[in-house]
């Protein structure tokens, strides 16, 4: 009888924490071993006993003691990123940032940018899906001309008759994609960085690859919306433009709508928090918690989207595909291919020059030919006259 083999397993056995084969072994063993059956029963007994022990309750003063210590402890771990106060006050801060962003954007639009931007647009002759459009808030002098207005597409027509102050300008996400072929890739890549930083922006992303041995890279420049046109010009001045695509997406409706929903949800959240203060029963508290977490989730979603929109409205995005102009391969110490190419070039140039000289001779000859012919005729006439005189 090897009851000691099984007794170690009886504890996991009653919890159902044995493997299938252990289970089988225990089952077989228990059939034949009364001692182990007794062990199992005793184990069941003691576990049942332990489970019947009522849990101790915490003394009433514990919670109060913790509360007072927590209040003095300040905020969880200063080590994590934002200061606690800042973290707690993120919503007003986000709102302030949004206001500033909107203000800057509006100032950009209303300022000297406007005529330049529109003239640029005319100059480029780009077909854009949407164009900045201004509502009554501007003075007449700055209103786009009738011709410009006519050229504008009408995504704004379904706008509410009384737009909110925030909707006095359009929120437009502007993007461009430019393919530029340059003489020297490395210099151009550095120049792109200068352009981005000079415009108060940055390079958000870049990738590098080779295309048939020629360097080719894709850069995403983020520049303030007000510098969008200027930055495009700078980029295009770097080389030959092979591709150009500019578009604008009007997100005003979405923006205004999201802000309204955010305000509503925040009001709702405030109400729930006051409910939470008043709740006395755990049941109520849990219900309020559930609802609060749902509302909070929605607010966070909306805030994230708003932040995304604000950022993209504020910072236009220019994707530049940079490629190096094809040239003869070059490699190693002595650029044999290059030399051959130069020799070929020199040879061809000489031949070309010879042909050109021949051509010039021919041209000159052709110029002289009528004169010579005339001279010949004159000479013949002169001789005939002398001969006839002499013969006479």
């Amino acid at each position: 009888m090897t009851s000691d083999h099984v007794s170690e397993l009886l504890s996991p056995y009653i919890d159902g924490r044995v493997s299938a084969e252990e289970q089988e072994r225990i089952g077989r063993h228990l059939e034949t071993c009364a001692a182990c059956r007794g062990d199992l029963a005793a184990l069941h007994g003691v576990v049942g006993l332990l489970r019947s022990v009522p849990p101790t309750t915490a003394p009433v003063e514990l919670r109060a003691a913790i509360r007072s210590r927590v209040e003095h402890a300040g905020v969880p771990s200063a080590s994590g990123g934002l200061g606690p106060r800042l973290a707690a006050a993120w919503r007003p801060i986000a709102a302030a940032v949004a206001v500033v962003v909107i203000g800057v954007f509006a100032a950009n639009l209303l300022g000297p940018q406007l005529p330049r931007r529109l003239s640029e647009r005319r100059e480029n002759g780009q077909s854009t899906s949407t164009v900045l459009q201004f509502e009554a808030a501007q003075d007449a002098a700055k209103k786009p001309s009738a011709a410009n207005r006519a050229a504008v597409s009408q995504p704004t027509s379904p706008a509410a008759p009384a737009p909110s102050p925030d909707a006095a300008f359009r929120s437009v996400i502007r993007t461009a994609r430019l393919g530029v072929e340059v003489e020297r890739y490395d210099a151009a890549a550095r120049h792109l960085l200068d352009i981005a930083e000079g415009a108060g922006g940055f390079i958000a992303d870049s990738s590098y690859g080779e295309d048939e041995g020629r360097p080719r890279g894709e850069f995403i420049l983020r520049v303030p919306a007000g510098r969008f046109g200027a930055a495009i010009k700078d980029v295009e001045a770097m080389g030959t433009v092979r591709q150009r695509q500019i578009s604008a997406q009007d997100v005003t409706e979405e923006y205004v709508d999201l802000q309204a929903r955010q305000r509503n949800l925040e009001r709702h959240e405030q109400q729930l928090l006051t409910f939470m203060d008043r709740a006395t029963k755990v049941q109520d508290l849990l219900a309020v918690e559930q609802e609060l977490s749902r509302v909070r989730g929605q607010i966070e979603q909306i805030t994230g989207r708003l932040r995304y929109l604000a950022h993209n409205v504020d910072m236009a995005s220019i994707t530049v595909v940079l490629s190096e102009r094809p040239k003869k391969g070059h490699a190693g110490l002595w650029d044999l291919d290059g030399t051959l190419a130069k020799m070929q070039g020199a040879f061809l140039a000489t031949v070309e020059q010879i042909f050109a000289a021949a051509e010039r001779v021919l041209v000159l000859a052709s110029t002289l030919l009528p004169v010579g012919a005339l001279a010949g005729v004159a000479w013949t006439v002169f001789r005939r006259t002398r001969q006839s005189k002499a013969g006479a």
């Binding site: 332990l50 101790t56 309750t57 915490a58 973290a87 918690e289």
Partner: protein, 189 residues
Amino acid sequence: MTGEDLLIARSRGGDTRAFDLLVEKYQDRVYDLAYRITGHHDDAQDAAQEAFIKAYRALRTFRGAAAFSTWLHRIAVNAAYDAVRRRPPAGSHPGEGTGASADPLGDRAERVEARARIFCAIAALPLEQRAAVILRDIQGWSYEEIAAIAEIPVGTVRSRLARGREALKVALADLAPVDARAYAGGNAS
């Protein structure tokens, strides 16, 4: 996001009221655990306080990778271990606190005595077995949760629990209910 996640998030931002609700929710289990590990009310209260304060301070490092309750109990177990190391529990203890929750049923004196004996038997176990038995048989955690709380492999949970129960089986043999024997005997046949 559950209500608890919300409370955690708010606590992390410094909302002490939200944290107070978390304390309310977990204080009994944490205290019970600390009391049974340390064997003293004083130590249990210190350990429970310490555990909650530590949890509050460390909330930022809690990434939700583990369930909050598991994480909190891990801190509590360690705080209780610290308390035990500071003052090893005296051999026998009347366990006056075990009767704290009044039980209207049956023979009161007998029950109180039985609980005192259970309490002492648990307190007499080696520390690690003690924690395993308390977490499993009194508090009802799963093997995986205990493994996470005690930071040990599941296999170790299994063996510690087996040894702890074996010792308790011997110590409390005369208390085990008779019907349990009958049930187990029927099970085996």
